[in-house]
């Protein structure tokens, strides 16, 4: 069992020296009609998303917005409830519904909820935290966070042919190509 799994090919990893080279390589793979690829880089690469398939995602923004609105509503509503229903008190002869006094807390609540939801959205959408991703099996993984630009072409892509992909990557200028097995 473990033999078979150990032997199974997860993907081909190619390392590039610069962002430019990485983009070239990616474009080449896309040319082959491959869709299941992922780039691993030490920093964000401008223009990479244009060549990587299925690369756009705006959900984080919307989730944050929703969180913010919810926070504001809860914040203001809660203060209204406390001062007008739960425990109305004559405080300095001020009206029970002293809305201007309720604004600061409302604002802070909005910001707090928006920030928390943005932060959580990032982790959830990225399926993080996850410490055991197959990519970490690759010998190249270590430098992906420092000075190398890695492109990973996954084996379960319908169009995936090991040799073809390997050659393509080398032509695109990969310093090295290696198999990632899990």
């Amino acid at each position: 069992m473990s033999e078979r799994r150990a032997s199974s090919l997860y993907a081909l990893a190619a390392e590039f020296a610069s962002p430019g080279a990485l983009i070239e390589g990616t474009r080449a793979m896309a040319g082959l009609g491959l869709r299941r690829m992922e780039a691993y880089t030490p920093t964000e690469i401008e223009g990479l998303d244009d060549v990587l398939p299925e690369a756009s995602d705006h959900r984080v923004g919307w989730i944050a917005f929703g969180g913010g609105v919810a926070g504001a509503v809860i914040g203001f509503g809660f203060q209204m409830w406390v001062n007008m229903m739960a425990y109305p008190m004559n405080v300095g002869g001020r009206p029970f519904f002293s809305w201007p006094a309720f604004l600061p807390v409302t604002f802070e609540m909005a910001v707090l909820c928006a920030s928390l939801s943005a932060f959580l959205a990032f982790f959830v959408l990225c399926r993080l935290p996850r410490l055991n991703h197959p990519f970490f099996e690759s010998a190249l993984a270590e430098r992906a966070s420092q000075d190398r630009y890695i492109l990973l072409v996954e084996a379960d892509d319908p169009r995936f042919k090991a040799t073809e992909v390997g050659d393509g990557l080398r032509e695109a200028g990969a310093l090295s190509v290696e198999e990632v097995r899990v």
Binding site: M89, N90, V91, G92, G93, R94, P95
Partner: protein, 985 residues
């Protein structure tokens, strides 16, 4: 092993008290040593536990006054009969305290057998409910853990039986010697019973002598009367009928047993005159060397040294064409002005004029004053005369001198001292400390093991007025029965009981109690008729009807005698020391009372200690500032004092307060203040001329509660006049109020409010202590006061106006304003201070987290904060004083005036019981109840024609800092400007 049952041998070898006395005696001894209720004082001070043990109030009623064990004697509650004692509802008993021997009528509040609060007796014909700070604070002395607790002989504990037989033997001995060598020293005695006892005691001992010593005595008045009338007549002033009063260094409102009455009469007379507008306002003219409460209220006042005052008196006599040798040199301008105004006012007033000479003035001036009053026809009008109220009216100074001589000569066999403490506050030149030791046997009877007690062989702890049966006369002669509210806490004896033992009663009379003695006295007085009813009504009312001293027609004054009198020469600008009783501590008898120690004195706002009061002129001359220490040398005596610059002080007079720096007053008074007594001699008892001051290098921080005395044009104290009767000041435009007027406009709700009449207030401080007693307000001590952390819920602000050599002085009591739009409330993050339905600004102690923002945002700065744990350290006995209906606050909590919400709630309960609204005047706050001038009015704004509502409609009504739009519920009635409001400009 079995404890021995036989008596101890002369020098017994013993391993335990039990063995020494046998367990019967042991019980008594321990009873003496440990007060009867010892086991009832839970350390945690849990009132519940206390109640449990106490059981019904009735049981306590029985206990009250049974010591040593005797069958219960019932005393009569003031309002309810004991049958309807409801735990939680206090009972009230009318009784009286003694001040300088005279009655201070009170109604004492008792919670389940614990007296907790003293109020004035509103029915009493003399005081009509007013109180002094000392009366209010007396309750704390009752529970003072430093009171002496057991009979000692040569410093060793003596058990009751031994003590009784010892006293009997002494009594026998003195009788055998016909009283030779027997000297009794008392304070002023007005108690008919005590007087009766002493007289019968002396009648069996004809050669014995009775001395009287009271430091705040009235010798000069007595001598003046003798000089004028050839006999001792006691003058009584009726300010209510006076239109012009001239005070020659006389503090009508602050000093003397009738001060409460004077304050009240003056305040009411002026209020009425201003409202009715049908007569000129009564006015006071004062010439005095150091500011007094009277001077502060005077229409005109001059600061003049004692000699100058005398010359002023002669000049005045001259103006009112009495044939006296008027002073040759003419007076300084300000004195001349006063003289003119005063004489004119007196002329106009005629029989309604009054001239009063102060005790510190020499007899001649008293004589002049009598002559002037006669001349005005004031006899029978503003001043009446009675026989002396004192049972044994003697010249105190002389009396003490004789005793001292006898002692020094070693002629004294037995010395019996009842209450007096001449060693601490007697003339230094009599050297009584040394003298007393020369007495063969000396017995001291008093509340404390004080300086005198420590020199005596015997010390017998005395009962507090609230622990004993006795009787006493007020200044006008009206007698009151003193009834106990609680059994003696420390197993003390009353003077009556001590005398009984001394007079070695025949066996059949040994059981006669103090109560029996008092009843005997009044059985005679009551004459025929039902004694029981007489007794009950007398106890219930707190005074004996018709016991007032009858007026007598004084003999015509021989004017020729006046010609011999000559005014003193104007003294060269040498410094004069004035010895004045401390406004709070008196002659020092209150030194161990923390409330009075921490009570800011009227003019200096000084607490915890005294200072030499000097004039700004002198301060400038010597280049000293407040707190600098000076060395005062007079003859061979010298003392040091910190100085305090007091505007209104006569240029060359230095006022020293007595009663400080006592050696054996107790733990509270330890190291507080600087004694002035060493400079005080019999000859110069009140004033001492020709002293030298030298500045030392030391500087002493003075613990004052108010450091800035100018109003900085903030219109805090306002004045009106007949011409300009409105106190309102327009603050320019502030765009109205955006907030709702009141959140509750329910007409059936109570809306509490208060007004304080600044015209009536004389700044006597009674309200401050009353509040402290009612609301369990802690004292914080000198160090904390220095840090600005005093806790008083109501304070009396004092402001100067005008030239500093003789300024106008204003008092302004400041409690919480209970603002409609309270700034403190909106800034509290936890809603610990909020507004009640009835307009109270309420403080929820157990919700407070102590951010202190409320205090910062309170423009009136009436909030007080428990910076440290101020309440935890109270002794068990002190905890007995606490008012069970008021929370004791812990550290870290904000507190402030509540308008005595606990009283409001009690009144509400009572009203609801009878299904009615709270009646106007039925409910009084502690400060209001204590005020002798009725300056404070409290009540409901929704009650038609309620007193407070009437006050609020007065043109004199105004609020302070109104422009902040806080809409205070506490407002003030403006001072009536004396000059314009008066008969003439």
């Amino acid at each position: 092993m079995q404890p021995r049952r036989d008596n101890p041998k002369p020098e017994p070898v013993w391993r335990s008290l039990e063995e020494l006395y046998g367990d019967e005696r042991l019980r008594e001894v321990t009873e003496q040593e440990f007060p009867r209720f010892a086991e009832l004082w839970p350390d945690g001070a849990s009132r519940r536990q206390f109640l449990k043990v106490m059981g019904a109030g009735l049981a306590m009623m029985g206990l009250a006054a049974c010591h040593p064990p005797r069958e219960a004697e019932d005393i009569v509650p003031y309002v309810e009969m004991p049958e309807n004692v409801v735990p939680g509802n206090p009972l009230h008993f009318a009784s009286a305290l003694r001040d300088r021997g005279f009655a201070m009528p009170i109604v004492a509040e008792s919670h389940e057998g614990r007296p907790t609060k003293i109020e004035g007796n509103a029915d009493h014909p003399l005081t009509r409910g007013g109180t002094t700070p000392q009366m209010q604070a007396s309750i704390l002395t009752l529970y003072d853990p430093d009171r002496s607790r057991e009979v000692t002989h040569g410093g060793r504990l003596v058990n009751p039986l031994a003590f009784q037989s010892a006293m009997r033997q002494l009594g026998e001995a003195s009788r055998k010697r016909g009283g030779r060598g027997l000297h009794i020293l008392t304070e002023v005695v007005t108690s008919p019973t005590l007087a009766r006892q002493i007289e019968s005691f002396l009648s069996e001992r004809p050669e014995a002598q009775w001395h009287v010593w009271e430091p705040r005595n009235r010798d000069n008045a007595l001598r003046g009367a003798m000089q004028t009338f050839g006999r001792h007549l006691e003058p009584h002033y009726d300010i209510s009928r006076a239109r012009a009063v001239v005070c020659l260094d006389a503090d009508l409102f602050g000093e003397g047993p009738a001060a409460l009455r004077h304050v009240r009469d003056y305040a009411l007379a002026r209020r009425e005159a201003f409202e009715k507008r049908d007569r000129p306002l009564p006015q006071v003219f004062a010439a005095e060397p150091t500011p007094t409460l009277t001077g502060a209220k005077a229409a005109r006042r001059v600061a003049a040294g004692p000699r100058e005052v005398e010359r002023l008196a002669f000049a005045l006599a001259g103006r009112l064409d009495l044939e006296v040798s008027a002073p040759r040199e003419d007076l300084p301008r300000d004195q001349e002005a006063l003289l003119r105004a005063a004489s004119a006012a007196l002329q106009a007033a005629g029989p309604q004029g009054l001239v009063v000479a102060g005790e510190s003035q020499p007899p001649a001036i008293h004589a002049l004053a009598h002559a002037l009053n006669e001349r005005l026809g004031a006899f029978g009008e503003t001043v009446r005369f009675t026989e002396p109220i004192e049972a044994h009216p003697v010249d105190h100074g002389e009396s003490l001198r004789v005793l001292a001589e006898a002692l020094h000569a070693g002629e004294v066999d037995q010395l019996v001292i009842l209450g007096a403490n001449p060693v601490a506050c007697g003339p230094a030149d009599l050297e009584l400390a040394a003298a007393i030791k020369k007495a063969n046997v000396s017995i001291h009877h008093g509340l404390f093991l004080d300086e005198t007690a420590r020199l005596c062989d015997w010390h017998i702890p005395a009962t507090h007025e609230l622990e004993e049966w006795s009787d006493v006369r007020a200044a006008d002669g009206t007698a009151s029965i003193i009834q106990p509210l609680i059994a003696p806490l420390w197993g003390a004896l009353s003077a009556h009981e001590l005398l009984r033992w001394l007079s070695s009663p025949p066996l059949d009379q040994q059981a006669t109690s103090a109560l029996d003695l008092v009843r005997e006295t009044w059985a005679e007085a009551a004459g025929e008729g039902d004694f029981r009813t007489f007794w009950r009504t007398s106890l219930h009312d707190g005074y004996i009807r018709g016991s007032e001293a009858p007026s007598i027609q004084p003999p015509r004054i021989d004017r020729r005698a006046l010609r011999e009198l000559a005014p003193p020469r104007p003294d060269a600008a040498s410094l004069t020391l004035l010895f004045r009783p401390d406004p709070s501590l008196g002659d020092g008898r209150w030194a161990n009372n923390a409330w009075l120690q921490e009570l800011p004195k009227p003019f200096t706002k000084l607490t915890w200690g005294n200072a030499a009061l000097i004039s700004p002129h002198l301060a400038l001359q010597m280049g000293i500032k407040d707190g600098d220490e000076i060395l005062i040398r007079a003859g061979d005596g010298e003392i040091t004092q910190p100085v305090f610059t007091l505007p209104g002080q006569a240029a060359h007079c230095v006022t020293l307060w007595t009663g400080h720096g006592r050696q054996a007053a107790g733990r509270v008074a330890e190291d507080i203040g600087w004694a002035v007594e060493p400079l005080r001699t019999a000859a110069d008892w009140h004033a001492l001329a020709g002293v030298t001051l030298r500045r030392t290098q030391k500087h002493i921080e003075l613990a004052t509660t108010q450091n800035h005395f100018l109003m900085e044009d903030r219109h805090l104290v306002r004045s009106v006049s007949a011409e300009h009767p409105s106190a309102h000041i327009s603050h320019g435009v502030h765009g109205g109020n955006l907030l709702p007027k009141m959140l509750t406009d329910d007409p059936d709700s109570y809306q509490w409010a208060m007004t304080i009449d600044l015209e009536a207030c004389v700044g006597c401080n009674a309200c401050v202590v009353a509040c402290q007693a009612e609301n369990n307000i802690p004292t914080v001590g000198r160090r904390e006061v220095l840090r600005g952390r005093e806790m008083h819920w109501i304070r009396i602000d004092r402001y100067w106006k005008g030239d500093e050599s003789n300024p106008k002085m204003y008092f302004q009591p400041v409690p919480c304003m209970h603002c409609e739009k309270a700034p403190c409330e909106i800034v509290c993050p936890v809603a610990a201070t909020t507004h009640s339905y009835e307009g109270l600004n309420e403080m929820t102690y157990n919700r407070c987290v102590g951010t202190r923002y409320c205090s910062n945002n309170c423009p009136y700065k009436v909030r007080r904060f428990n910076f440290l744990d101020y309440t935890g350290g109270a002794a068990p006995s002190e905890q007995l004083q606490r008012n069970p209906s008021v929370t004791v606050r812990m550290r870290g909590v904000m507190e402030k005036c509540t308008y005595c919400v606990q009283r409001i709630n009690r009144a509400r309960n009572d009203a609801q019981m009878d299904g009615r609204r709270i009646r106007d005047g039925e409910l009084k706050t502690a400060c209001q109840a204590s005020c002798p001038a009725e300056a404070i009015t409290f009540g409901d704004l929704h009650t038609e024609g309620s007193a407070v509502r009437r006050q609020k409609e007065s043109p004199r009504n105004y609020g302070i800092l109104e422009h902040l739009n806080t809409q205070p519920r506490t407002t003030y009635l403006a001072v009536v400007d004396a000059d314009e409001g008066g008969s003439k400009h």
